[in-house]
Structures are given as structure tokens and as C-alpha cells.
């Protein structure tokens, strides 16, 4: 197999990698906010349950969670087959896992807001929801952007974990070629792909951070 056919084959996997990446962000960013709000709930039961869930999600390997989501239903209910399209369980596992990390970042950001912002908004007559959406959230987003960038960079690399359920993304295909050709080159190519992908992430996140640089 020539180098160019190798690269071409692996490019096919890149699409699946991108699918995991973008779908995970799409679902985990808002889901993380829901987690954070439940975690900060005044209801002690709700907040303790959420805290426990978050600590389990952060305290166990993503690979294990991925295996559980993909094969767990099959073991629990024997009639249930394993999903034909692995993208669904992969995205579910990734989105929930990343939501836990984002939740803690959101919570830290919300906690760091000075109480004076809430008070100023309250005296002006904003409702609680308006205060959150118009005053607090935009400032929180700016504060947490560097931490979000970190997670996004990690996500790019973590997409490779999908190989453990043989979802045909970049790394899985690389591994297959490496096995069949007994060559290490596909791993090098994969490494370069992830590196370039993260270079793009850095550029995009840098742009977003810069756009919020107009104050403070």
C-alpha cells in the first residue's frame, strides 16, 4: 500500500472523527449547563444527586462509559442487539461525559461572578431569568473560554477512544491499516491529523476569545 492510498483511506475516517467531535460539542455544551444548574440547585437532594453523577462521570474512564453505553443495553436486555450505527452510542457517551466536565467549568464561572452584578440587575427589575441570560451568562462565557478551549483540545484527541467499540473513525482505520500492513506509518499519519486538527481548534478558539476582548 502506498503512502497516498493510506492517507486517502484514513481521510475517510476523518469524517467520522469530525462527526463525533461536532456532535459531542453540540450536545454536551448545553447539557453541561443543565448539569451545572442542577448541581447548583437550592434543593439539596437534586444538587447531591447531580454532584454524585458528575463525580462518577469524571472519576471513571471515558472508555468504560463508552463500552457501557454501547454494549450495556445488550447485556441488560438480551433481545436488544448492539446498535448497528455506532455513532449514536459514541455520541451519547461522549456528550454525557463532556457535559460533566463542562458543568464544572460553568459552575466555577458562575460562582466567580461578583454578587454585585446580581444585585444591580435585581434593583433594576430584571427577572431571575433575564439576569442570568443578559447579565451573568455573557460574562461567564468570557471567563471560562480558556478552560473550554482546553476541553475542546482534549476532545479532539479523545475521539480516538471510539476505536474500542470499533467505530470507524480515524484511529480505528489507522489501526486496521497498521495491522494489515504491519507498519507504524498509519499511527504517525493519525498523529499528524490530530495535531493539525488541534491547530485549527486553537485558531478558531483564539478568534472567539479575541472577539470577547472588547472589555475588561
Amino acid at each position: 500500500m502506498t503512502l497516498s492510498t493510506m492517507i486517502l483511506k484514513m481521510c475517510e475516517g476523518l469524517g467520522s472523527t469530525c462527526a463525533i467531535f461536532f456532535l459531542t460539542l453540540l450536545f454536551s455544551l448545553p447539557l453541561g449547563m443543565l448539569f451545572a444548574l442542577l448541581r447548583m440547585s437550592k434543593n439539596k437532594v437534586v444538587s447531591s444527586v447531580m454532584r454524585f453523577i458528575i463525580s462518577v462521570l469524571r472519576g471513571t474512564p471515558l472508555m468504560l462509559q463508552l463500552l457501557a453505553v454501547t454494549y450495556g443495553p445488550h447485556y441488560l436486555i438480551n433481545d436488544l442487539g448492539v446498535a448497528r450505527n455506532k455513532l449514536i452510542p459514541v455520541v451519547i457517551a461522549f456528550a454525557i461525559n463532556y457535559a460533566a466536565y463542562f458543568a464544572e467549568i460553568y459552575r466555577g464561572g458562575i460562582d466567580s461572578m461578583p454578587v454585585g452584578q446580581y444585585e444591580a440587575a435585581g434593583v433594576l427589575g430584571y427577572t431571575k431569568i433575564q439576569t442570568f441570560m443578559r447579565i451573568i451568562l455573557p460574562q461567564v462565557v468570557k471567563r471560562i473560554m480558556p478552560s473550554i478551549t482546553n476541553e475542546v483540545v482534549t476532545l479532539v484527541k479523545d475521539t480516538s477512544i471510539a476505536f474500542c467499540v470499533s467505530y470507524e473513525e480515524l484511529f480505528t482505520i489507522g489501526k486496521q491499516i497498521a495491522n494489515s500492513q504491519t507498519s507504524f506509518t498509519p499511527f504517525l499519519i493519525a498523529g499528524i491529523f490530530y495535531f493539525v486538527f488541534n491547530g485549527l481548534v486553537d485558531v478558531v478558539m483564539g478568534r472567539i476569545e479575541k472577539r470577547m476582548d472588547y472589555y475588561q
Binding site: 461578583p114 454585585g116 452584578q117 444585585e119 444591580a120 440587575a121 435585581g122 434593583v123 433594576l124 427589575g125 430584571y126 433575564q130 443578559r134 447579565i135 455573557p138 460574562q139 468570557k142 472588547y214 472589555y215 475588561q216
Partner: protein
């Protein structure tokens, strides 16, 4: 009619361990300027926070222009009005904080227009027209597009005053509006408040600026230990206090 009426407010913190307000009553008439002075920890901020609904009173009545925000029930516990009523009442007062609390992510103009548009339901044009005229009055018309972080402390506080005025309150509270400012910047804030007093804006001002209180206020209240020790004509209270505690407090200012 009295714009503000506070009757027998009591407030304690730490499970009733710390009694901060002990049965304070205060009425403010339309157009009146009231200055509140007193040592640190005497409960001045807590009183303003109760009046502006930032803190709940344990006991007592709170009325704006005769409408109840809270009133005592049979057990002598403050019960607050429903959401609708409180929303109406919130639109009647404004509060200027010691440390401004401007919204840093909004331009100066948006700081002044956002609440009128989204809380009062004003049109954008109307809100911006009003905001620009307020900024002009504050001498900040050229700063409309600036962000709060680009302004000096004195300018930020003037924006904060304009933001409160943009809601067209019937009464404006100030909690030590110059304490966070360098001495050379306090003058510009005092000038603005003085101008508002001349326009008969109803105001309650917590301040440590004794000469300012004497010149501008219609009435001075001296608070200590959660009670009103003495109140009356500013010249009387500040230059010729009756109570020993007031005299002691004021003598500290005379020395420096």
C-alpha cells in the same frame, strides 16, 4: 404623600445572634434629601438594602407611595407582597452602589438602555434618546460607545447614576457613592448629586462626607448600633448635636 415609608424594621443576621436594625422607622417625603451618617457597622447599608428589597426584613412595614412592599402579619413578621406588586414597586426606586456595579460587557449606552427596554418595555429609540440626554447631563455624551473599563471611577459612578435615573425612579438611594473613589474624583460625584437635589429629586444618601451632607441634605439621620440616635436639620445635627454619641462620632471627623 410620602415616597418612602419604613415602619419598625428589625433585621438580624446569624440566626438572630446579631441584631443589626433594631426597630427603625423612616419616612421620606417627595423631593426630600435625606443623608444618613454613622459609624461603620451601624446598619446603614442594611437599612438601604432592606428598602431596596435586596435583603428581607425580619419585621416591619415597607411602603412606596402608600403601596405595601411588605407588612407585618399578626405575629409581627414581615410578609412580602406578590411578584407582580414587587415588580411595580421596584420600578419606583433606584440604587447607586459604592462600587458602581456597572455591567462590564455592555457599552455605556447599553448600560443605560437595556433595563428600560427589557424591564419597562420602552422602545429602543425612546430609551436611547433618554439615555443620551442623561449622559449629556452627566457630561459623558462622548462616552456613549465606551465600555465601563475604559472610564475613570468618577465617570463610572456617573454612568451608574445615569443608569438608575434612566428607570425614572421616584426615589434614589446612594450607599456611600464616593467611598470607592480617589479624593480628587469625589467632587464630580457630589456635584451631580447636588444638581439632582436642586431639581428636587427625592434621595436617601449614606455618606461620610459631612460638609456635603450639611450643605445638600434637608435632613440628617445619625445611626449607631442599629438605631436612629438623632435626626433633624443638618446644621443642627452636624454642627450642634444633642446626643453624646453623635458628638463623639462627629469629633472624629473634625480632627482630620
Amino acid at each position: 404623600m410620602n415616597v418612602l415609608e419604613i415602619k419598625n424594621v428589625k433585621k438580624s443576621f446569624n440566626d438572630s445572634q446579631l441584631h443589626v436594625l433594631k426597630d427603625i422607622s423612616l419616612t421620606v417625603a417627595q423631593g426630600e434629601v435625606v443623608a444618613i451618617i454613622g459609624p461603620s457597622g451601624s446598619g446603614k447599608s442594611t437599612l438601604l438594602r432592606c428598602a431596596t428589597l435586596l435583603t428581607q426584613m425580619d419585621s416591619g412595614d415597607l411602603l412606596y407611595s402608600g403601596d405595601y412592599a411588605a407588612r407585618n402579619n399578626d405575629q409581627g413578621v414581615s410578609v412580602y407582597a406578590d411578584k407582580q406588586q414587587l415588580k411595580k414597586i421596584r420600578s419606583r426606586f433606584g440604587l447607586v452602589f459604592q462600587n458602581f456595579n456597572l455591567f462590564p460587557h455592555f457599552s455605556v449606552l447599553k448600560n443605560l438602555t437595556d433595563a428600560p427596554i427589557h424591564v419597562l418595555g420602552r422602545s429602543k429609540e425612546e430609551a436611547e434618546k433618554k439615555a443620551m440626554s442623561l449622559l449629556e447631563k452627566m457630561g459623558l455624551a462622548d462616552k456613549a460607545d465606551a465600555y465601563p473599563c475604559q472610564l475613570s471611577g468618577g465617570q463610572q459612578q456617573r454612568v451608574a447614576i445615569a443608569r438608575a435615573l434612566a428607570m425614572e425612579p421616584e426615589i434614589l438611594f446612594f450607599d456611600e457613592p464616593t467611598s470607592a473613589l480617589d479624593p480628587e474624583l469625589t467632587g464630580e460625584i457630589l456635584k451631580v448629586i447636588r444638581q439632582l437635589a436642586e431639581e428636587h429629586m427625592t434621595m436617601v444618601i449614606v455618606t461620610h462626607e459631612m460638609s456635603f451632607a450639611r450643605d445638600v441634605a434637608d435632613r440628617v439621620i445619625f445611626m449607631d448600633g442599629g438605631v436612629i440616635v438623632e435626626q433633624g436639620d443638618p446644621k443642627e445635627v452636624i454642627s450642634n448635636p444633642k446626643e453624646e454619641r453623635t458628638r463623639q462620632f462627629l469629633s472624629r471627623f473634625a480632627q482630620n
